[in-house]
Amino acid sequence: MSDLDSFRQEVRQWLQQNCPESQRQPITPREQYWGGRRGSFPSEDARIWYERMRERGWIAPDWPAQYGGGGLSEQQARVIKQEMQRIRARTPLYGIGLWMLGQALLEYGSEEQKQKHLRAIINGETRWAQGYSEPGAGSDLASLQCRAQDQGDHFLVNGSKIWTTAADKCDWIFCLVRTNPDVKKQEGISFLLIDMDDPGISTTPIALISGESEFCQTFFDNVKVPKENLVGELNKGWSVAKALLVHERKLMAELGSDSPRKVVAPNEAAHKYLEFDNGRIVDTQLRSDLVDYNMQMHAIALTHFRTFEEKAAGVRSAAPLVMKYLGTEAEKTKSELLLAIMGSRGLGWEGDGFTAEELDTLRLWAMSKAMTIAGGSSEVQLNVIAKSVLELPQSAQV
């Protein structure tokens, strides 16, 4: 048995013994624990589960132990994730700090920043928001205008950020800010950590087509930010952001396999909502759409496995660069397919006329529209493939 295999046995056993039964069910948004000063545990079992995982070092298994992580390898971390998925264990702690900022700090942060923030994330003390996009800077992120002026011992920040997830519940926000307006747009950007309690910060929630308002616009009005909150070098924030974007796209590509919601599988929905004759779906169009979807997902899953195997074998390929595009487009296709399969049962907005699962399906359909926009739209992904993989000449417009 290889080391990884015996590690897997160990993980499997530990999870079996320590993950409460109630934490092995599909999770609804209300049952998620996001940490932070304003956060609370949705249930006693959720608290027990989180604390056991934290004590074991598996909230952030591949972060160094000195910052509260598990000190494990990337492969070991993946084994933990796989084993958790196997028993449908819930994610004990959600958060952008855990998924995104941690990576940036580990790579670019100062020792003081790592000490101050990493353990606080793992301990659920701070919840982070991400301040990248602006009303005038979406796909063209590098044109961002939120200013941070050097005032000697601090930066003075003015401007606004949009799509800041749950900023009204967050303690800190990491932002891309303009520190030099006189150079090429990518070369005048810095990466700043800002305490949301600082005077001059305000947030407004944004209502979405899904009926939710998980995102906010966040305004900065003469906010004073200490110099030590700069991550990496001054005017080198774009490099940090690019590294994080790659990480974010990987996360989004994997979202399908780790959705926080109760997701109906299209095959189950077909058996529940469609007419069958002799083991076959009668509606030939839906049968054809369903098989297209299943084949595409089968191919995407195999390509995920291939990227892991290539990484382990030290082989480079274009596969990782196409996964965000393929994964999010497939999620959208799935939502449309579910609606088509469920007919008018898939159109319920609220109330007792529909099951919770049906209502969730429609909300997820609306939410799925954001997946091919956030984290670099599908069009931007195709630009990236054209440039980095195919090395096609840059178009005049970009």
Partner: protein
């Protein structure tokens, strides 16, 4: 299952690429076409391929084979797809040999496989009876007569049917006309009395034939497997053929795609390379994404032949359907993106377009495999 080629397989692929570039470029196929070559492939090339061991890649060492498995075979066939090399590799060394390997008696294997492996003897599968792939719709009859069988019927779209030394004929000895029950596989010598052959000139300039069996008599020793039980052999043989063909199609798609991307960088209009236009960049990027998916599917399906045959039906249909869609997309886009020269016979892109269309029909079109996959999924 391995989704990355090992050192040995990469070496095989690189050797194949070098060999085919100098021995069987697309120009060789053009020459076969223009001279209306009676054989349809170059026997000297086939002999050299056999010397390299290609005719025996999937065969066990006991029959003179290399035993490199389907991942090794796929690496070679993909390179053959890149240059559209015409040879009996698929029809004889993969499909024909698999029929003997999976269904043949000890005597048949001993007598024939080593010769197939050496490239001395070629085989072809005589299956189709209509213009669509319907492997169980067999009207050709095999009636037991004395110690052997008498075959009557017609076959079409028989790959390498005009040149193969021996034919593996799918005939019906019992059962309804569309049933998978009652099929019998028989080996028939091409020189048999009552067997007539019409070579069909196809779009891809490769080789296929219509065959007619009129009271063709074969001995009992020519039976492959059990009488009436042919489906149990035929289905895995077809799946092996589908996966192998998918590898060839991958090479065909990659070559057409790479030539097109190179052209996008070189061709200038409005004072800039046309590859700088986003309308073309996005379509090229979408093809790259489709190629990545097909690469994973193909490797998994090739691995399944040797490692997880129980998964082969689903993976073979996934691979053939996905590769059908890929070669259709890529060859159409290749012509369109080359503009006016794309529709000239001078440019080799047209050869890829035509080969793609034939390959898409061989062993099942997209609809056939989507239907099979859906059925295997339980809907």
């Amino acid at each position: 299952m391995p989704l990355v080629l090992n050192e040995e397989q990469r070496l095989l692929r690189d050797t194949a690429r070098d060999f085919l570039a100098s021995n069987a470029p697309v120009a060789a196929l053009r020459k076969l076409r223009d001279t209306r070559d009676p054989l349809g492939y170059d026997p000297q090339l086939w002999r050299k391929m056999a010397e390299l061991g290609w005719a025996s890649i999937i065969l066990p060492e006991a029959y003179g084979g290399l035993d490199f498995g389907f991942l090794g075979l796929g690496a070679v066939l993909e390179e053959c797809g890149r240059t559209l090399a015409a040879s009996p590799l698929l029809a004889s060394a993969v499909v024909g040999a698999s029929a003997l390997l999976l269904g043949g008696s000890g005597e048949q294997k001993a007598a024939l496989l080593a010769r197939v492996a050496a490239g001395e003897l070629t085989l072809a599968l005589a299956l189709e009876e209509s213009h669509h792939h319907r492997p169980s719709h067999i009207a050709t009859t095999a009636v037991a007569d004395g110690t052997g069988f008498v075959i009557n019927g017609s076959k079409t779209f028989v790959l390498d049917g005009h040149s193969a030394d021996q034919l593996v004929v799918v005939a019906r000895s019992s059962g309804e006309e569309r049933s998978t029950q009652g099929l019998t596989l028989l080996l028939v010598d091409r020189a048999s009395a009552g067997l007539s052959c019409q070579r069909t000139v196809m779009a891809d300039s490769r080789n296929a034939a219509n065959l007619r069996f009129d009271q063709v008599r074969v001995g009992a020793d020519r039976l492959i497997g059990e009488p009436g039980q042919g489906w149990a052999v035929l289905e895995p043989v077809l799946d092996r053929g589908r996966v192998a063909l998918a590898a060839e199609m991958m090479g065909c798609a990659l070559e057409a795609f790479e030539r097109t991307v190179a052209y996008l960088k070189q061709r200038e209009q409005f004072g800039v390379p046309i590859g700088s236009f986003q309308a073309l960049q996005h379509r090229a990027a979408q093809m790259q994404a489709a190629i990545e998916l097909c690469r994973s599917v193909l490797l998994q399906a090739l691995s399944a032949v040797d490692e997880t045959p129980e998964q082969l039906p689903m993976l073979a249909s996934l691979a053939k359907a996905k590769l059908n869609e890929l070669v259709k997309l890529v060859t159409n886009e290749a012509v369109q993106m080359h503009g006016g020269i794309g529709v000239t016979d001078d440019l080799e892109i047209g050869f890829f377009l035509k080969r793609a269309r034939v390959a898409m029909q061989v062993f099942g079109d997209t609809g056939f495999h989507k239907d099979r996959y859906a059925t295997l999924c339980g809907y």
